[in-house]
């Protein structure tokens, strides 16, 4: 049973971290090959484990594989450590380890010129991979939280990779250091919520094992209010980690790290941890329809807000960062809509929202990793991230431009590419509650509208980016371009572009039966099932193509691409018309990121530094001032005391006797009072 060795999956990259960290200096490429090796081994074991699980009896019965040991017991609580494998685990670990492997390989070319720092880089990404896989395989919330935070630290370290001695100078170093701190602190706010959720759930259930918490009988026996509070707090963690509104603003700044890090951590894997947490916590979240409604609203608003910010940004990586936030919002919205439906309807076989959200997560991992790595390839070649300095690169970088075109078409939802299928399922899921006439139907109609507008914006900003980079007249930075990137970079691009184009078809090839969540009502009680009971391929195909909204979203996407073509390639519409030459208020509002950075700064300044200055003042003047005041009074009074130091033993004896009498009197009072 290879499944019994699934714990090796996070352990091997961890060993890689130790090996690279301690001996990387002496290894070729700073230990890069070790990191790649551990990623490959992790992927192979993941694949074997997934194969064994998905072909085994447990999957057929929609039951998870669980193995754990006790980690810590205190009072009436127990915390275990172990692995939990169901079909969601399999999907997550497969795409995470696969994409990590490709990005690690790509890093060999991308980070080649970093010298001594390569060791640090490879050690940190190996630790990161260990954290991600550990999170996916965790068998309880505390274990998940530990890996969640380990990833957070790796993210912090890697965003700040150039926080000292930046190749572009001190200004860039200062920015990287600040971005790293911001990422850690903003997500920390979510993490503190997550941790509080753990207290609530631990108090309610006595342990944090998924097997306990997802058991309908246990849930029925627990305090409903506590489950509500616990679910909301867990979602707070999601808002931080998956950069959801209003904690989204750390992610654009996180682009200060190397592009490979942006591709791996801030697009393909870590930021998905929040989405994974929502999907994983479905049995808890569906207990309250309002929680799921909130999840959907946050997701929808995030998708829209982030996409709007990408519309006029000039930095190639930031456009992709906003796009990531927006797409994460899509996933969260789909999961919320699907969960809302279950919460209201009770029995649901294979929730569309759940399938859509997780499916989009997989597709997005492929095309967004691809897009970031293409952007990395461009940045590597031209030495800038500013799209205004690029242009006309398609001739010099054929592979990069072609693969990036595939990625852009895919995310824009071009028919038959991967993004098309999952985005369509998401729109369908968002619409479903209002079609069924559920209480929050109007809200979902509004969310659907937001999602449709977002689909248009996505197509527009992606192609604005692609045209500005690869078409038109070559600008100053393009002149420096020496041509295509090395093979270690282009081969991963080609492999990923195949997946970005085709991964959507997986939904017809079995994934429809793997990423599902069903609630079955047996009369005597309900049962929550992950995996199995999926819609047939035919049913999904039919529901996509018979739905009129499919054609609306397709038209919106094509219109977005067309508009971008007219504005940034053909030049028949002048972009300046839309922003009044930079004077437009909306334009400024978008450039200022809805003033979120200022809001964060003000909160930190007022609630943090401001209060701190006050406390410091009180400490120095009032608290310590009192102490010094007392001591001065005593020392000042010592002048008169000195007169009493007459030198006669008789006097000293008198003082000592008085002192003793006072002491004894105090004791006598206490003792006699206490004894009474």
């Amino acid at each position: 049973m290879i499944m019994d060795y699934a714990w090796l999956i996070p352990l091997i990259p961890l060993l890689g971290f130790v090996a690279v960290g301690f001996f990387g200096k002496k290894l070729p490429e700073g230990g890069g090959y070790i990191a790649i090796g551990t990623a490959i081994i992790a992927f192979v074991i993941s694949a074997l484990v997934s194969y064994e699980y998905l072909t085994g009896d447990l999957f057929a019965a929609s039951q998870p594989y669980v193995a754990d040991i006790q980690w810590l017991a205190f009072g009436k609580y127990e915390i275990n450590f172990g692995i939990y494998i169901d079909s969601l685990t399999c999907v997550m670990m497969l795409f995470s380890s696969f994409i990590s492997t490709l990005i690690f390989v790509y890093s060999i070319g991308y980070m080649h010129g970093e010298g001594q720092r390569k060791r640090r880089y490879y050690a940190e990404i190996a630790l990161f991979l260990s954290g991600m896989l550990g999170l996916i395989l965790a068998s309880n919330y505390l274990e998940m939280f530990i890996f969640w935070e380990i990833m957070g630290v790796c993210s912090y370290l890697l965003i700040g990779f150039w926080s000292f001695k930046h190749p572009e100078g001190d200004e860039a170093s200062i920015k990287a250091a600040s971005a790293a701190k911001k990422a850690f602190l903003v997500t920390r706010l979510g993490d503190v919520c997550f941790m509080t959720g753990l207290f609530v759930l631990l108090w309610s259930f006595g342990n944090l094992d998924f097997t306990t918490l997802f058991d309908p009988a246990e849930i029925a026996g627990a305090d409903g209010t506590m489950i509500l509070i616990g679910s909301l707090l867990l979602f707070g963690g999601v808002i931080g980690k998956s950069a959801q509104f209003p904690l989204q603003d750390w992610l654009p700044d996180a682009m200060a790290g190397p592009t490979t890090v942006s591709a791996l951590i801030h697009a393909a894997t870590m930021v998905k941890a929040g989405v994974y947490l929502v999907a994983r916590s479905y049995p808890l979240f569906i207990q309250n329809a309002d929680v799921m409604l909130l999840v959907a609203i946050i997701g929808g608003v995030t998708a829209f807000v982030a996409a709007s910010m990408a519309m006029n940004n000039m930095n190639i990586k930031r456009v992709l960062a906003y796009s990531t936030i927006s797409q994460l919002g899509y996933m969260i919205m789909a999961l919320g809509a699907g969960g809302y439906l279950i919460a209201m309807e009770g029995e649901v076989e294979a929730s569309i929202g759940y399938t859509a959200g997780v499916f989009h997560m997989v597709n997005h991992a492929f095309f967004k990793a691809l897009l970031f790595m293409c952007a990395g390839s461009v940045i590597h070649a031209v030495g800038t991230e500013d799209m205004r300095k690029m242009g006309g690169l398609s001739k010099k970088m054929k592979i990069t431009s072609a693969t990036m075109l595939i990625g852009s078409l895919s995310i824009a939802g071009f028919p038959l590419l991967s993004g098309f299928w999952s985005k369509d399922l998401i729109l369908e899921a968002a619409m479903e509650p209002s079609i069924l006439g559920l209480p929050a139907g109007t809200i979902f109609l509004f969310l659907f509208a937001l999602a449709a507008i977002t689909a248009f914006m996505t197509a527009f900003y992606m192609f604005r980016m692609w045209f500005m980079t690869f078409k038109g007249q070559p600008k100053e930075a393009s002149e420096h371009c020496h041509g295509e990137s090395p093979r270690s970079m282009t081969v991963p691009l080609i492999i990923l572009s195949i997946f970005a184009a085709c991964s959507g078809f997986l939904i017809f090839l079995g994934l429809n039966n793997i990423i599902t969540f069903s609630v079955l009502d047996h009369g005597s009680g309900v049962e929550y099932l992950v995996g199995g009971f999926g819609h047939t391929a035919g049913h999904i195909f039919e529901s996509i193509f018979t739905n009129v909204w499919t054609y609306v979203s397709m038209a919106l996407a094509l219109f977005g691409i067309l508009l971008a073509y007219l504005m940034y390639c053909k030049g028949s519409i002048d972009p300046a018309r839309f922003n009044s030459n930079g004077e437009s208020k909306i334009y400024k509002f978008l450039t200022a990121r809805y003033f979120f950075p200022q809001l964060y700064d003000q909160i930190a300044l007022k609630l943090g530094y401001g209060v701190a200055r006050g406390v410091d003042y009180i400490d120095k003047n009032l608290v310590d001032g009192t102490v010094n005041g007392i001591s001065n009074a005593v020392v000042g009074g010592s002048g008169s005391m000195r007169k009493m130091q007459s030198g006669y033993v008789r006097d000293y004896a008198a003082f000592i006797i008085v002192g003793v009498i006072v002491l004894v009197a105090i004791l006598y009072v206490i003792v006699s009072w206490g004894g009474a």
Binding site: W71, L72, F74, G75, Y77, L142, F145, I146, W148, E149, I150, V153, Y156, L157, S163, F164, K165, D170, S173, I174, A176, A177, S178, A180, K181, F184, L185, R188, L189, V192, M195, T196, L198, F199, V200, L202, W203, A604, G608, Y609, V611, A612, G614, V615, D616, D619, V623, D624, T626, V627, S631, L663, I666, L667, I670, V671, W673, G674, G675, A676
Partner: protein
């Protein structure tokens, strides 16, 4: 073997102190005396741990010292899980600090003698089973620390040393009155018996009325609170730390502060359970004030070492919060936090010592971009800071998680949940000041305000001390059951309060 192993534990550092003083002609060998004696002490401690984990008994040894008709003082020592953990921490930190400071050039024989003398006092406090003995050892720790600060400290060392001495000594006297009250009440007119056993028996027999407990708890608590220290009785601590040499700071924050919380658990909670319940709300309020006040004060500090000193106040407030829950979980994790904080804060003060020594200043605004020049140092500093802010997987997280969990349990029982926000706010603030400090010292532009041309990274011996500590921080973070088992399974006394 059993009967003399604890006295032996006291004797070896005492011999070390005497030998070290005797080395005044061959000063350069004093460090070897200190390292060997503290290593032997640690070895005996580890043997005790091994031996005790295989047995269902605890070491205890008692022989009459002063035994007259009116007063009984015995040389009684004994250990339980809490004591053993503190003894382990003490002997470990003394060894590492001796290794760390082995390049001390200024009067090394006296320097190491003082450290060894302090170890005697600290170990004595943690194993005493007689109140008089406890008080003597308590005061014994004071004197070497006073001389370490005033002899090897910074520019304002005399002010800081005298403030430290007088402040904590006044508190000790209040505590002494409390101890006399306990003994007098327990002896009920007979010979004054100071042994833990006699007082505990009196407590169990109900000789301490609620009113008596209220007052005496207050006196003892004040004595311990100044040591911990709790806001507003803390101002001696930042001054003492800023001026103290690194070795002094490590021992002061690492083990001396724990004497306060140890005393509260060992004395106040155990024999005055009623007083504890009467003081519970006040303790919770004091704990929360200490946690938040300490954290906020950290944000405003410009001296890196002063910031770390204030972070100790915040983290010791966490210990009191756990204690104040008066529940099994709360106290267990409070003890765990004492251990965790001891390991972590040792790293932090060593790091401060290195930056002060190597870069010539600890002023945060003068530093910047040190990670480029001192990569190994930067790694240790980051590790220490992340451990201190409660990174999961490291020892501090387990302690904080348990304490806040016990706080949540308490709040859920009284059905008032909102005060949990205070504990959570401290998690944010702690992350805030540590990350901000790292940003300004390690990262960004390499500073041009100080001369960095001769700055070098950590030395080999410093690296060993820090490396051992970091390894232990990770070990106990991954396997907290190692320490929790000790706390749970080896009770000499069941806390009367739970």
């Amino acid at each position: 073997m059993n009967s003399f192993i604890l006295p032996l534990l006291l004797l070896i550092p005492l011999i070390g102190a005497i030998l070290s003083v005797a080395m005044s002609r061959k000063q350069e060998y004093a460090k070897y005396v200190a390292i060997i004696c503290s290593a032997v002490t640690l070895a005996i401690t580890l043997f005790c741990l091994y031996d005790l984990s295989n047995a269902d008994y605890v070491y205890a040894q008692s022989s009459a010292w002063i035994d007259t008709e009116s007063i009984k003082i015995s040389f009684a020592v004994g250990v339980d899980g809490m004591s053993m953990l503190m003894i382990l921490l003490t002997s470990l930190l003394v060894l590492l600090v001796s290794v760390f400071s082995s390049s001390e050039k200024d009067r090394p024989s006296t320097f190491f003698a003082l450290i060894m003398a302090m170890e005697v006092g600290l170990l004595g406090v943690y194993m005493a089973q007689d109140y008089f003995l406890f008080y003597i050892f308590w005061e014994v720790t004071l004197i070497p620390m006073y001389f370490l600060i005033s002899g090897w400290g910074g520019p304002r060392r005399h002010y800081a040393a005298i403030k430290f001495f007088i402040y904590t000594h006044v508190a000790s006297l209040v505590m002494l009155i409390g101890i006399f009250a306990l003994a007098m009440q327990a002896s009920a007119g007979g010979a004054l018996d100071f042994s833990f056993e006699a007082v505990k028996a009196a407590s169990m027999a109900g000789l301490f009325s609620p009113a008596f407990q209220l007052v005496v708890f207050g006196m003892l608590f004040f004595g311990f609170a100044v040591k911990m220290p709790l806001v507003p009785f803390h101002t001696w601590l930042p001054d003492a730390h800023v001026e103290a040499p690194t070795a002094g700071s490590v021992l002061l924050a690492g083990v001396m502060l724990k004497m306060g919380s140890y005393g509260i658990i060992r004395v106040c909670l155990d024999v005055l359970p009623d007083g504890a319940h009467q003081w519970q709300t006040a303790m919770i309020v004091l704990a929360i004030i200490a946690i938040l006040y300490g954290a906020y004060a950290c944000i405003a500090q410009k001296d890196l070492k002063k910031m770390v000193a204030f972070s100790s106040i915040s983290h010791m407030g966490m210990v009191l919060l756990g204690i104040a829950m008066l529940s099994g979980i709360g106290i267990q994790f409070a003890i765990f936090q004492m251990f965790a904080h001891g390991l972590i804060t040792a790293v932090l003060f060593m790091v401060c010592g290195i930056v002060g020594h190597n870069a010539g200043t600890r002023e945060i605004p003068l530093l910047g971009g040190l990670a480029g020049k001192m990569p190994v140092f930067a790694a240790f500093m980051m590790f220490g800071f992340l451990a201190s802010l409660g990174l999961p997987g490291l020892v501090g997280f387990v302690a904080e998680f348990g304490i806040i969990m016990s706080f949540f349990e308490y709040l859920a029982d009284i059905e008032v949940l909102w005060p949990i926000v205070f504990a959570l706010a401290s998690l944010m603030l702690t992350a805030g000041y540590y990350l901000w400090a790292m940003q300004r010292t390690l990262f960004g532009k390499e500073t041009d305000k100080i001369d960095l041309t001769n700055v070098h990274d950590v030395s080999k011996l410093e690296g060993i001390s820090l490396g051992v500590l970091c390894a232990l921080i990770a070990l106990f973070g991954i396997l907290p059951a190692l320490a929790m088992g000790l706390i749970e399974n080896m009770p000499l006394v069941l806390w009367g309060v739970v």
